[in-house]
Subunit: 420 residues, 2 copies
């Protein structure tokens, strides 16, 4: 049988380093031209496969592919598009296999979080049933850091660094103005269900007196009175109070502090505005002058302040995914295995997708201080290495030089149209 082609797609929210994983996949595939034919990428993620709209990565120069390593966003386009269960919508999976068969695709590299790990697993299962073998390898990516087994998820370290650096910088700003101006500053960060990103803000300070003074985690039910008391204590003791709040912060009954009432394609509630909610609580209770920032997409696209550790790991899982495919693996995900905290030593491991799909890794309670407002020494030991090292992109005229693909389409082979 002729050598197989490969398919790569980005899924879900993009990160500052997801293209570094793509770079790892493509460069490694190019080194094995004897065994892997063309590498196609889905335009806009898995939708590109369903619509048979694929980008021929072989048309991109080596320099372009190398520049993916320092380019944020999803260079091929990503999608918030969750394939339903096999029973509910078998047609979608069959269509994928149909497209893979038409283009002689034997390797499927899917770069995403928990939902895409699940999809990847199902593709692998179905391909066996349909007698068109596809080796499905999941390439981990999520700023939420909530995939199981792996020490961390590529994308997280760079958001963590952004949040820690920004908290330290804004903290200095607020400290210097607090005597006559803003006393309470609130930084809203991502993290729907897990407080990993908010926790990273805690790395900014070395002592209790330094920002951030309060972290609000999704894992800890929000108690208004305890929070407001703590704000007052901080303003009294230090002159100001910096709060890092996760978008997923919620009351005991599960209601989010800010709930816009709309849902995204994955059925997740679309959140926003928790910072404003917290600010109003502080103003109404204490009358302190406040300011708030909402980092939103800035935090996950901030390649200019990416963690070198994170970039290296993002590249490494992409590279490992191809190597695993070549070793005949299927339905697996490369993982980061931690061997030591300081200095951080890690290697690449491998996890079966059956153990990855649909499992979320929450912050352990022992990573959060007893009062629920800070991170413990154990948490610092875990987080600290993940933000280590700088990996600046090249600049031209004061701006980072990010690459844009030619994005030349693969000629369609199927006469059929697929309706999403």
């Amino acid at each position: 049988m002729s050598k197989k082609n490969a398919f790569y797609a980005q899924s879900g929210g993009v990160t500052a380093v997801i293209n570094a994983s793509a770079c790892g996949v493509i460069q490694t595939a190019r080194k094995h031209r004897d065994r892997i034919g063309k590498l196609y990428a889905g335009r806009n993620g898995i939708i590109g496969a369903l619509l048979e709209d694929m980008i021929d990565t072989s048309k991109e120069s080596a320099a372009t592919i190398a520049a993916l390593r320092h380019t944020p966003g999803g260079a091929f386009g990503s999608a918030r598009y969750k394939l339903k269960g096999l029973e509910e919508n078998r047609a979608e999976y069959e269509r994928l296999i149909e497209v893979f068969r038409a283009h002689n695709i034997g390797y499927f590299f899917y770069n995403g979080g928990g939902d895409s790990a699940d999809t990847c697993y199902k593709v692998s299962q179905l391909s066996r049933k349909l007698k068109f073998p596809v080796q499905a390898i999941h390439v981990p990516k999520t700023v939420d850091n909530d995939l199981p087994i792996t020490d961390t998820c590529p994308g997280f370290g760079s958001v963590a660094k952004y949040v820690a650096v920004s908290t330290r910088e804004a903290g200095l700003d607020v400290a210097s103005m607090a005597e006559t101006s803003t006393k309470v500053f609130i930084l809203e960060v991502m993290g729907r269900h897990a407080g990993w990103i908010a926790a990273a803000g805690g790395l900014a300070g070395q002592t209790r007196a330094e920002a951030p003074h309060i972290i609000l985690f999704p894992e800890i039910p929000f108690e208004k009175r305890a929070f407001l008391r703590r704000v007052k204590e901080c303003v009294t003791a230090y002159g100001y109070c910096v709060v890092v709040v996760s978008e997923g912060a919620a009351y005991k009954n599960g209601r989010f502090l800010a709930d816009t009432g709309t849902v995204d394609a994955f059925g997740h509630k679309q959140l926003g505005g928790v910072a404003a909610t917290v600010a109003r609580l502080v103003r109404d209770a204490h009358g302190y002058k406040y300011h708030y920032a909402i980092a939103d997409y800035l935090q996950r696209s901030a390649r200019h302040i990416a963690s070198k550790t994170d970039v290296d790991q993002a590249y490494a899982v992409g590279k490992a995914a191809v190597e695993m495919a070549l070793q005949g693996e299927n339905a697996v995900m490369p993982t980061i295995v931690r061997h030591a905290d300081k200095p951080y030593r890690w290697t690449i491991g491998m996890a079966p997708l059956s153990r990855v799909a649909n499992r979320e890794k929450m912050m352990p309670r022992r990573f959060i201080t007893p009062d629920g407002f800070g991170i413990t020494a154990a948490c610092r030991r875990y987080l600290a290495p993940l933000i280590r090292g700088e990996d600046y992109p090249p600049y031209r005229d004061g701006l980072p030089k990010y690459v844009k693909l030619k994005g030349i389409a693969v000629a369609k082979k199927l006469g059929t149209r697929f309706v999403l």
Copy 2:
């Protein structure tokens, strides 16, 4: 007469590079110990002088002072405290002179924006009347870039770079997700009356297709219908739309798009929430999924992505202020004089405070495209050199190493207490 001491204070909103100016002042004063005695700094700005609460900078090591160059925030503390007019509150000015007299202070370096230029000018005038000569030199600083005469204001170039870089990065993020997710992204930036910071976002894109697609300036009255039409055009043409909006964006009748109804110590309205307002307009009209970020203090404290040009200029005006004082100048401000755009060539000039105080430099209309939503080539020529060059701070364990002063107080000499 014995050699005079000097007094330095930071005023108003701090920046990523105001301490670089302090570094320039202190290092230059230290080079002239034959003519300048001790350099005292106001703790929390001018309040430190009024309360006779001053920091003895001679107790800080050379390494600490050098590290101010890469430390954001106001290391000595700043204040939003505007001295009233001489007629309204002569007591405050007399108190300043009383403290200066008690501590043999003959040089007053005031590091701030338009309001502090005015204060600086009045101190100079009054010291003459009270027969205690003080040479008052204003050191320009403001992220708003609204001081007259000078080519730019130290602090602005770094905010401009932060906003341009962030807009480019978030733009790539949104572009890659737009097919199935967020179609409109809004970034709220500072700038109460002048749109300089919002304009800097325009540097992120090279073509009309690239982010940002729309900039909302305070100078251009907001027209809802034209704005919403443009948003739709962009989403149709490019698949998404990135908007940079100034906090000072306002309707034709002068009402801000977001007005919290509170005022700060300078009597300025405290703004916030324009991004949410704009997002709601988009959602209600078109139903597009949106996200918004509010950069708030992150933008003006982001020393990690400071403009090298800005850092150099901030240092240079601090140095020049001391040199001007030694040349006998009084009631003046060092300025940046532009000689060429590309490559950018600049030197230090000097402006009399009588021509600086209480005058705001607005964006010229010719810097804004006829439709009011973008920047012109002339604006790019002006802005581009100001963000050029990177000047990374040193890092330890993945975080920038910022310095903290010992902040040892100067012994009080006056028995009197002053009530603010």
